[in-house]
């Protein structure tokens, strides 16, 4: 698999929380790139800065120093309104939980970013996604009437529905049982391979990371390793190596 373009990139990114003795350098001058049409997993122990990196790449948080780019856009140069528009039009999200607006039904949640933008969703595309994730019979249900797995699949469908340049997923299967988790991750992999999407996923679960095309390992706010075509076993081995 060849890398055609860079979808997102961090260059010398530094993020510092707190002051003085309580100071934490969550990102310590990190350089990393994420290719288009690629499913990348970011792994690392707690406090390695993986969630911070994801938040900064997605325009949810700002850097202390350095740069992050989505495509060619330097996020540091955008104000809040521009960042909001960027998240709405160019980025998709799947969080670990609380992904859905409880007052909207599944279909409304899927088309939420377009509704916010006041745009008509691309119906064929939305239909395709709905069929792919297999929730057509649940579209009129509210989130509370859906199982955890269904909720996360609706969230993934939402992330895809607006055809964003990149999707960020933060432990998307973290709250799911293994079957539902596998279903969700399989669907995400399919979205990359067959629908040509780009996904960056933070996870600490080697099994989940095994669905990715590439794994980036973080520790103490910098990249400490990388693996292409990972499997659960190879990842576990690599982690042992890193910890050694």
């Amino acid at each position: 698999m060849t890398r055609t373009e860079i979808a997102a990139r961090a260059a010398g990114a530094v993020k510092v929380y707190g002051e003085g003795d309580a100071q934490v350098r969550a990102l310590n001058g990190i350089d990393v790139e994420f290719g288009s049409r690629e499913f990348t997993a970011i792994m690392g122990p707690s406090g390695s800065g993986k969630s911070t990196l994801l938040h900064c790449l997605a325009g949810l948080d700002s850097l202390t120093d350095g740069h992050v780019y989505l495509g060619d856009t330097d996020l540091g140069s955008l104000d809040d309104d521009e960042l909001t528009r960027l998240r709405r039009d160019q980025v998709g999200f799947v969080f670990q939980a609380y992904n859905l607006v409880p007052t909207l039904n599944a279909l409304e949640n899927i088309t939420l970013p377009m509704a916010i933008a006041g745009r008509k969703p691309d119906q064929t595309w939305v239909d395709e996604i709905i069929d792919t994730i297999g929730i057509r019979d649940r579209l009129q249900h509210r989130p509370t009437e859906l199982s955890g797995g269904e909720q996360q699949r609706v969230a993934a469908a939402r992330a895809l529905a607006s055809r964003p340049d990149i999707i960020f997923a933060d432990e998307p299967s973290g709250n799911l049982d293994s079957t539902s988790g596998a279903e969700l991750l399989g669907f995400m992999k399919e979205a990359v391979q067959q629908l040509g999407q780009t996904i960056v996923m933070v996870t600490h679960d080697p099994a989940a990371a095994g669905y990715a095309d590439r794994v980036v390992f973080l520790a103490d706010g910098v990249v400490v390793g990388e693996m292409l075509e990972p499997t659960r076993e190879r990842i576990l081995d690599h982690i042992k190596l890193l910890e050694a």
């Binding site: 998709g92 859905l100 607006v101 509704a115």
Partner: protein
């Protein structure tokens, strides 16, 4: 548990801040009313004991008629009585005194309007004893052409000693030289009323009193008790004249003013009560939401071994602390408010001596008790709900989304509302066999109970109504609009409780608007029906009783005038009670003023006789041809035949008689009105100009046509209405605080959801819009309920008054305006919560523990 309670309270201090404010405002009004009226009350006490300084006994006409009208026209005391009194043993000194209403002209020659009470003319006796008036500057008037004014009035109009002051009494203005400024005891005027003081002969001349007096003030020889003197004097006095001790006069006068003050206090307290009532809804709602948000925390306490009673106690203790804090603040606020009222009182012409505001212990206790009790009662239900949280809830995940049945709501709410309606109906339509509660209080209590009942039921129809109100939102406002609509429907109880507070304010606003419209409509109808004159000449303001008869005499000669009818006004006793008497020019009156002649006619009214209002004739059981007994102050008891029975509005009197009969039986001969019909072909404008050529010399009269009359009544009604609006604004304001509070609390609950919306691309503006329109739905919902109730109440009250001829008028435009205003208010209430919601940190909102 104490530490946990305090910690809990501090943890939620922001959430409770608005609740505290709601109680503070209500308690502040209670405290402010008391402080202000207490202060004014003691000022009046001092004032009136000052007015009688040096006087032991007063001789005055017996005032039989106690009317709502505020003043009566007693007869004068002949000068001979003064001579007789001076000869009585024990009378050290006796002087006559006179009073009348006067009007002053300002520096521009216009009638000087007072903001409040009228200006009195009075005599200032030539005696060295201390009296009511004390000289502040210059000298006492001692000759005709001289006057003294109270210092406050002189200051207000910019007059100084030596200036010429023009004064209108009955006729054209007369010039007097200002020789002195007077005070009234310690104060510069008497409870807001101004004084123009003359020497006795001048007062007798300008008040048309001949040599008679209004009262005789007596100083007793040292050692003679006032009571003894009263006993000695009474037998020698003519009928209709009595001797009373000066002390009881002072007490009566102070009591009269204090009664007015009592009404004012009640008025303020009623609105304070409404505000507090509205406050209870807010407090209850706040505590309910806080308890819901702390379910896990409370469950943890239970899991760790706290009993359900301890949990209840914890919530109630919180409520008590909130109550004490906000009552304390309310007390301070109330004292500030009393200061504002004092300033307003001075603006309306009053003069407060440098008395500090009186904060009595009673005021402090009442304020604290009211605040704490209101808070505790409001927190009772939420506290019990807190106690029912099972320990296992600590392990469960947040908000339960199951929709609990609303059946209990209906089962409880319907009987409550029915009970309230029953109370109201009894108060309005049933003659009560007991007196311990007034019908008005009953109606008020009924309304309060109906409010509670409707508030209990309203969650049942929150979803459909909020859905209808918000129906156009999704199309007009896109996604934020549909989310606003959904959010307003997701917690029906919360939305309903929040809206209920506004409902109360809007119901009362609608009620006032409907009553005003009904009065206005009725008055218009009456004027249309009865007002046949082209122009009416009447007195300006409400001070005097009438104007010189020379005006009508001069008007009669004008070629522009076809005919005119003069009227006079007086009081007498008829049968058991007092009666207003109108004298009319019998040959022309019926042409110029329409009344329904039920029986008999006015043809023979010119001879000594009366025409009675139907209702009065019915009470007396008399018909045309019968004779009634009327007692006049001047001529005593008279038997007069009834020649006509009539009915009609627009006349205050219940007895009509001819000018001739009036002249025989009353000593004061002043016209109250001159009704004018112009010649054919003379326009109202040129007719008015002609009349003005006569009345220009009399600044105390005005000329009005039908439109002016309507406008005048209208402005009076509007004045009262705006006063009520200002007072109701208070409860509407508290209701808005409630909306702000609920929204803020809801936003805390929805932090994660709002964070998610922001993460997937909702702009701050859209978040604000979402919150704003949710607020609009809540407030419009409250307004709809309130206006419906207001219409119901208004209709019932008008029905109850329909015997007095009141017609029901529904001011549709104004009510729609109120609805619209409520929507705008909703926008305002949402400003702060919407801002906070749009500023939520997205990252914190979406990150999980």
């Amino acid at each position: 548990m104490w530490r946990a309670t305090v910690k809990g309270l501090l943890g939620h201090k922001l959430r409770l801040a608005l609740t505290v404010l709601a109680i503070t405002i209500g308690v502040g009004f209670v405290a402010g009313s008391f402080v202000f009226t207490d202060t004014l009350g003691s000022v009046f006490d001092d004032l009136f004991s000052g007015t009688t300084a040096g006087i032991d006994v007063t001789i005055r006409p017996i005032i039989e008629t106690e009317t709502d009208f505020g003043f009566s026209l007693p007869e004068k005391i002949p000068a001979a009585v003064l001579d007789d009194v001076r000869a009585v043993e024990g009378v050290e000194e006796a002087t006559g005194a006179l009073f009348w209403f006067v009007q002053l002209l300002d520096q521009n020659g216009e009638i000087a309007r007072t903001n409040g009470p009228p200006t009195f003319g009075a005599s200032w006796a030539d005696t060295n004893r201390p009296g009511a008036f004390s000289l502040r500057e210059g000298a006492r008037p001692t000759a005709d052409g001289q006057v003294a004014l109270d210092r406050k009035t002189a200051e207000r109009l910019g007059f100084e000693v030596g200036d010429t002051v023009q004064i209108v009494i009955f006729g054209p203005p007369e010039s007097f030289k200002l020789v002195g400024l007077a005070g009234f005891g310690e104060a510069d005027n008497l409870g807001g009323a101004g004084f123009a003081l003359f020497d006795i002969p001048t007062a007798q001349r300008v008040f048309n009193s001949g040599r008679a007096f209004d009262t005789i003030d007596i100083a007793a020889t040292p050692g003679v008790a006032p009571e003894t003197l009263v006993e000695r004097l009474q037998p020698m006095l003519p009928d209709q004249v009595e001797a009373v001790t000066a002390q009881s006069v002072a007490e009566e006068q102070a009591a009269a003013l204090k009664e007015g003050l009592g009404f004012f206090n009640t008025f303020l307290l009623v609105f304070a009560g409404i505000a507090l009532f509205v406050g209870t809804f807010i407090i209850q709602n706040t505590f309910r939401i806080i308890v819901a948000q702390r379910t896990r925390e409370l469950a943890l306490f239970r899991a760790l071994g706290a009993t359900s009673r301890q949990v209840t106690g914890m919530v109630l203790t919180e409520a008590a602390i909130v109550g004490v804090v906000s009552s304390g603040l309310g007390l301070l606020f109330g004292i500030g408010l009393a200061n504002v009222l004092a300033v307003a009182y001075e603006f309306f012409g009053g003069d407060l001596p440098e008395a500090a505001l009186e904060v009595r212990l009673r005021t402090v206790l009442v304020a604290l008790a009211v605040g704490v009790i209101v808070t505790l009662v409001s927190a009772l239900l939420p506290a019990r709900k807190a106690a029912s949280v099972p320990p296992v809830a600590a392990m469960r995940d947040v908000e339960s989304t199951t929709r609990r049945s609303m059946r209990t709501r209906v089962v409880a709410g319907v009987p409550i509302s029915a009970f309230g309606i029953a109370l109201g109906v009894i108060g309005l339509f049933v003659e009560l066999p007991f007196e311990w509660i007034s019908p008005i209080a009953l109606v008020g209590a009924g309304a309060a109970v109906v409010f509670i009942g409707v508030a209990v039921i309203s969650p049942v129809f929150t979803r459909p109504i909020a859905g209808i109100i918000g129906a156009p939102f999704p199309r007009l406002l896109a996604l934020p609009g549909s989310l606003a609509r959904e959010n307003s429907m997701r917690k029906p109880r919360r939305t309903a409780a929040t809206a209920a507070a506004l409902m109360i304010g809007l119901a009362l606003v609608s009620l006032a608007t409907i009553l005003a419209a009904s009065f206005r409509g009725t008055v218009r109808e009456v004027i249309d029906e009865s007002f046949r004159a082209d122009l009416v000449v009447s007195e300006v303001g409400f001070g005097g009783i009438g104007f010189s008869t020379s005006i009508a005499e001069a008007l009669a000669d004008l070629p522009e005038i076809d005919r005119l009818a003069r009227t006079r006004f007086g009081q007498a006793s008829l049968g058991e009670g007092p009666a207003f008497v109108s004298a009319v020019q019998t040959d022309t009156f019926l042409d110029l003023f329409a009344i329904d002649l039920i029986d008999g006619g006015f043809e023979t009214l010119s001879s000594p006789s009366v025409a009675l209002r139907t209702s009065r004739a019915e009470t007396l059981g008399v018909a045309v041809g019968d004779t009634v007994t009327i007692t006049f102050a001047r001529t005593g008891t008279q038997q007069l035949p009834v020649v006509a029975i009539w009915d009609g509005q627009g006349i205050q009197a219940s007895v009509l008689m001819s000018i001739e009969t009036f002249e025989t039986n009353f000593s004061e001969q002043l016209d109250a009105q001159v009704l004018i019909a112009l010649q054919d072909g003379i326009s109202i404008e040129s007719g008015r100009a002609a009349v003005e050529s006569i009345t220009d010399a009399f600044p105390n009269v005005q000329i009005q046509d039908q439109a002016d009359f309507k406008a005048q009544t209208e402005s009076q009604i509007n004045l009262i209405l705006s006063l009520i609006f200002v007072m109701l604004l208070l409860s509407v304001l508290i209701a808005l605080l409630g909306i702000t509070n609920t929204l803020s609390l809801s936003i805390i609950e929805r932090t994660r959801e709002i964070g998610l919306l922001r993460a997937v691309g909702m702009s701050r503006k859209q978040v604000r819009r979402m919150i704003r329109w949710e607020s609009v739905i809540i407030s419009v919902f409250g307004a709809v309920l309130g206006i419906c109730l207001g219409i119901l109440f208004g209709w019932a009250v008008v029905r109850a008054l329909s015997e007095q001829g009141l017609l029901f008028v529904l001011p549709g435009g104004q009510l729609i305006g109120a609805l619209f205003a409520a929507g705008v208010a909703g926008v305002v209430a949402a400003v702060l919560p919407a801002w906070r919601a749009s500023r939520l940190n997205v990252l914190n909102a979406i990150s999980y523990e």
